[in-house]
């Protein structure tokens, strides 16, 4: 382990997560065996931070999946005559430059952000867990190759790498393209995390025991190594959803993310940027929803870390 001393910002959010080996493998003397996760769940249910973040996450996911539950107005049904109205009874969040109802657009904007956040995190985590556990468990040349490859991808900061590729993809940037690019640059940190976690788990006695019992590598990795080593990655992945949503909005704001006529919070602020000083509502509502969504995922990762970290018990 020579090259994991560096911390990316998101790692700082989850500083204490890499100690799965401290978890007692067997539950202490209780009637029912309490797993790490059920213990954590018991604690989480009582944490206000977790409850707030969980409610917010659910709200945003429902908003992304079923926007019509929140608004019956078509976000693309605009009339120029209504352009740039401040919030009123008819248009709760006002209207934008095209005269579209800003409330409807803000609600519909959740879909792009939340789906990109979830898609990117899901696939990056799969890549990271697969490569990280393979690398950490097998060691040798496979580990060296995979780790050097990760170093290379890690050397290109997310926003800069995405900026270069997406800039070249001008004209065809939809949710899929933006997600693919963010996945390409999003997995390295989690891969390192997974690898170091696997390295610490695989030295433990129960892995030797499983091997002595004749378990195959596949069974050892899936049943023992992953089950005990995935905790830090789960915490980090939760935070990553927020980080990715923020990155998507920033890219859209920089004109290299989603393109009109897509509806996204970053894009809404981008279109409004020259009128923000005169019409602050154009910034306020999408900015508020965006920040709240990111906040929910980061707070949830924070609460998960506190609950899953046995050192804090």
């Amino acid at each position: 382990m020579t090259d994991t001393t560096n911390k990316t910002p998101a790692e700082v959010l989850a500083p204490d997560v890499v100690t799965p080996e401290v978890v007692p493998p067997q539950a202490p003397t209780q009637d029912k065996p309490a797993s790490l996760w059920s213990d954590a769940w018991k604690e989480l249910r009582r944490k206000p931070g977790f409850i707030i973040s969980a409610l917010l996450v659910i709200l945003m996911v429902v908003m992304a999946a079923f926007p019509t539950l929140f608004t019956s107005v078509d976000p693309r049904d605009c009339s120029l005559i209504d352009a740039l109205q401040t919030p009123s009874a008819e248009h709760r969040f006002g209207t934008d430059l095209q005269g579209c109802d800003y409330y409807a657009r803000t609600i519909w904007g959740a879909r792009a952000s939340v789906s990109i956040g979830l898609i990117v995190t899901f696939f990056s985590t799969i890549i990271a867990v697969a490569l990280g556990s393979l690398s950490g468990y097998k060691g040798g040349w496979l580990d060296s190759t995979l780790s050097r490859f990760t170093d290379i991808m890690f050397a290109i900061p997310l926003i800069l790498g995405a900026l270069v590729i997406l800039n070249a993809l001008a004209g065809s940037r939809g949710v899929l393209q933006v997600s693919a690019v963010l996945i390409a640059f999003g997995w390295p940190t989690m891969m390192r995390l997974m690898r170091s976690s696997v390295l610490s788990v695989k030295e433990l006695d129960f892995i030797d025991a499983a091997r002595a019992l004749g378990a195959s590598d596949w069974r050892i990795i899936t049943r023992h190594v992953l089950a005990n080593g995935i905790t830090p990655v789960v915490v980090y992945a939760t935070i990553t959803v927020g980080v990715i949503i923020s990155a998507e909005a920033s890219l859209s704001f920089l004109n290299v993310g989603l393109q009109l006529p897509a509806i996204s919070w970053g894009l809404m602020i981008n279109t409004a940027q020259n009128r923000i000083l005169a019409f602050p509502h154009l910034l306020f509502f999408p900015g508020l929803f965006l920040s709240m969504t990111v906040f929910a995922f980061i707070l949830m990762g924070d609460a998960l870390r506190d609950a899953l970290d046995p050192k804090l018990r």
């Binding site: 020579t2 090259d3 001393t5 560096n6 911390k7 990316t8 910002p9 700082v12 959010l13 500083p15 204490d16 050097r148 170093d151 290379i152 050397a155 290109i156 900061p157 926003i159 800069l160 790498g161 900026l163 270069v164 590729i165 800039n167 070249a168 993809l169 001008a170 927020g242 923020s246 909005a249 920033s250 704001f253 920089l254 004109n255 290299v256 970053g266 602020i269 940027q273 923000i276 000083l277 602050p280 910034l283 900015g287 965006l290 920040s291 709240m292 990111v294 906040f295 980061i298 707070l299 924070d302």
Partner: protein, 308 residues
């Protein structure tokens, strides 16, 4: 130690070539006719086209093109903009401003972030600690462009405390608001990192020993805890320089700071691939060097870490 440094430098060389190759491939492997991009709407005579093809080595194989590109980068040639201004010139003109902005942001996050972190750390689980914890999550959650516009709107326009744009050439006063915005997110990370580092060190044996020797609280915290807690923070700050460069793209655009980030944004808008690649290559190299320096520094600062 020496062997560690040698190995780490070797890794850096590998990362440098691979990362530049990736950036090169990402941009130039994508189908399209770069000569058409230069010509724009106007028809181009065949002779000029031939000259340009030869000049940019477009008729050579892919790897040869990469060879020309990477030798250029090593010699400081990062390509040209459409109006044939060397990208290096653009960088020379604009980089010092970004550097100044980053340094101001750096000072702000060091002073405020470390103070808040130490403060929260020695009062673990008290009100102030919770306040720092919640407010840092809140600040981290607000994307930097939203934060920038908010600062512009409230501090710049409504309250009128600081100028909304930096001006050209920017004054120290003009840099202040963009520097605060740029610092905000990293500041929150620094505060959190310092806090957890202080909390961890306060539990350590050498702090207990120092207390047992009867040293004053001030000395225990100020010398024993504080200095050791700074190790991870220093390494984070060095890497953060890379993040600040990235954040500068957005901050400089919003506050109209004529720095490297704004140049990058403008060339994205103008679809100037060569300038985008030139600037991104430079930023990636800076980031890689910062990483290298940090790793080596870490090994020097913290003798507990063994590298072999």
């Amino acid at each position: 130690m020496t062997s560690y440094i040698i190995r780490r430098v070797g890794q850096f060389v590998l990362v440098f070539f691979a990362a530049t190759f990736l950036i090169f491939s990402m941009v130039f492997a994508i189908p399209g006719d770069p000569i058409r991009a230069i010509a724009g709407e106007k028809p181009m005579p065949d002779s000029l086209r031939q000259t340009l093809v030869q000049r940019y080595h477009l008729d050579e194989p892919y790897m040869v093109q990469y060879y020309y590109y990477v030798t250029g980068v090593i010699q400081g040639d990062l390509g040209e903009s459409f109006n044939q201004r060397p990208v290096l010139d653009i960088i020379k003109e604009r980089f010092p401003r970004t550097l100044r902005l980053a340094i101001y942001a750096f000072i702000i996050e060091m002073v405020i972030g470390v103070t808040a972190g130490v403060w929260a750390g020695i009062r673990k689980d008290k009100f102030l600690d919770s306040l720092v914890k919640v407010s840092t999550v809140a600040v981290i959650s607000i994307p930097i462009f939203v934060l920038g516009f908010m600062a512009q709107l409230f501090i710049g326009v409504r309250l009128g405390w600081l100028p909304v744009t930096a001006g050209n050439p920017p004054s120290l006063y003009g840099y202040l608001l963009p520097a605060i915005v740029l610092a905000a997110v990293s500041l929150a990370y620094v505060a959190r990192l310092t806090r957890s580092s202080v909390v961890e060190n306060l539990r350590s044996d050498y702090v207990r020993t120092a207390k047992a020797k009867g040293l004053s609280q001030r000395r225990v915290i100020g010398v024993h805890t504080f200095r050791n807690s700074l190790i991870p923070v220093i390494t984070f700050l060095a890497i953060d320089l890379g993040a600040l460069m990235g954040g500068a793209i957005i901050t400089e655009t919003i506050f109209n700071v004529p720095g490297i980030g704004q140049a990058l944004y403008q060339s994205v808008i103008a679809q100037e691939g060569a300038v985008v690649v030139g600037i991104v290559t430079l930023l990636v190299i800076i980031y890689a060097v910062a990483n290298l320096v940090v790793d080596v520094m870490y090994a020097v600062l913290d003798p507990r870490i063994r590298y072999d």
